[in-house]
């Protein structure tokens, strides 16, 4: 498996938001609720990452509930790939 870089995941996240007419803030500390990035948007992003790396990234819902910022999203997907 070739893990995706943080920058590549960030670009994909921007694409998910863009498809909904939303903009990706520059600040990675931005709150997900405020930018309208919901849990199913995270699922969509995770599935896009899976497509790229060719491996499933399954996880439990409580882990997802800890995610509040863009930075959290990127951290979590980096950790999932490393696991």
């Amino acid at each position: 498996m070739t893990a995706l870089s943080r920058d590549a995941i960030r670009t994909m996240m921007a694409e998910v938001l863009q498809a909904q007419g939303k903009a990706m803030p520059v600040d990675d500390g931005a709150n997900l609720e405020q930018i309208g990035f919901r849990s199913l948007d995270f699922s969509e992003l995770a599935l896009r990452v899976e497509d790229e790396i060719g491996e499933e990234l399954n996880f439990d819902a409580p882990e997802l509930r800890q995610i509040a910022t863009i930075s959290d999203v990127l951290d979590f997907l980096e950790q999932l790939q490393a696991a």
């Binding site: 998910v16 498809a19 909904q20 007419g21 919901r38 199913l40 699922s43 969509e44 599935l47 896009r48 899976e50 497509d51």
Partner: protein
């Protein structure tokens, strides 16, 4: 701007499991008549389904796939998207029947019924939803369950458990897929054709008399309900629609 609270559009590419005969085939024909594309599979492809695929090569994909074969299912879904375009709907119709008292049904047979009627449809719905979501799309899922999930019928213990399980999963999926998918069940009563193969004419007459609509269910009664759930903007979500002539009320 794509607002996720907008109505989910009508289905354009529909996967139908168990689409080679009976209700499944009738659903396939109806989807075609609505102008959508359809990818149907079953363990055995019947001449009727083959003829449809031959007549509409750009709109119908038919294949012999066992619903419990996860690898074959995933290949079929990939081929569907390559041939017909992105999948946005599923009719989870394939199932096996039962006609044996629970105490006389082998553990192996119970496991087989659960694998075919519950595990396989859940995995198929998972695979289809993953494809829909990965593309940022939205879609519709219809589970074909049974009135057995709501009422007790002798000889159908494991079968009823799987259909009840599927109805429960359907409700949870409808909530979980918030704004991304409409998920519903259609629960037919016993088809006249099925019943006539195991019951005598006197029993059939009695059941028919006790059915408030005065007639037993036919596949043609189910098809319009599936059509509505696939194509219409009704906002029906997370529901079991029972079609049994009122027999279970």
């Amino acid at each position: 701007m794509s607002d996720k609270t907008e109505p989910i559009g009508p289905a354009t590419v529909v996967v139908v499991s168990g689409g080679s005969r009976g209700l499944g085939l009738a659903i396939v024909e109806d989807i075609l008549a609505k102008g959508a594309k359809v990818a149907a599979f079953a363990r055995t492809v019947t001449p009727e389904l083959e003829a449809l695929a031959a007549a509409h090569p750009d709109r119908v994909l038919a294949a012999s796939v066992d619903v419990t074969d996860v690898k074959a299912i995933n290949s079929f879904l990939k081929e569907t998207e390559a041939r017909l375009g992105p999948i946005d709907a599923l009719v989870n119709n394939a199932a096996m029947g039962q006609d044996s008292l629970h105490v006389h049904t082998s553990p192996e047979q119970i496991a087989k019924i659960i694998e075919t009627n519950l595990t396989a449809p859940l995995l198929l719905a998972r695979a289809v939803l993953r494809r829909i979501m990965a593309k940022g799309n939205r879609g519709r899922i219809v589970m074909v369950t049974s009135v057995c999930a709501q009422r007790g019928y002798s000889g159908l213990v494991a079968y009823s458990a799987t259909k009840g399980g599927l109805d429960s999963a359907m409700r949870t999926l409808a909530r979980e897929m918030h704004g991304r998918a409409l998920v519903n069940s259609v629960a037919p009563g016993f088809f006249a054709s099925e019943m006539s193969s195991v019951l005598g004419q006197t029993q059939l007459d009695t059941i028919t008399r006790r059915t408030p609509s005065g007639r037993l269910v036919e596949p043609e009664n189910i098809v319009p309900v599936v059509r509505t759930l696939l194509f219409d903007d009704t906002n029906i979500n997370g529901q079991v629609i029972t079609v049994d002539g009122g027999n279970s009320i």
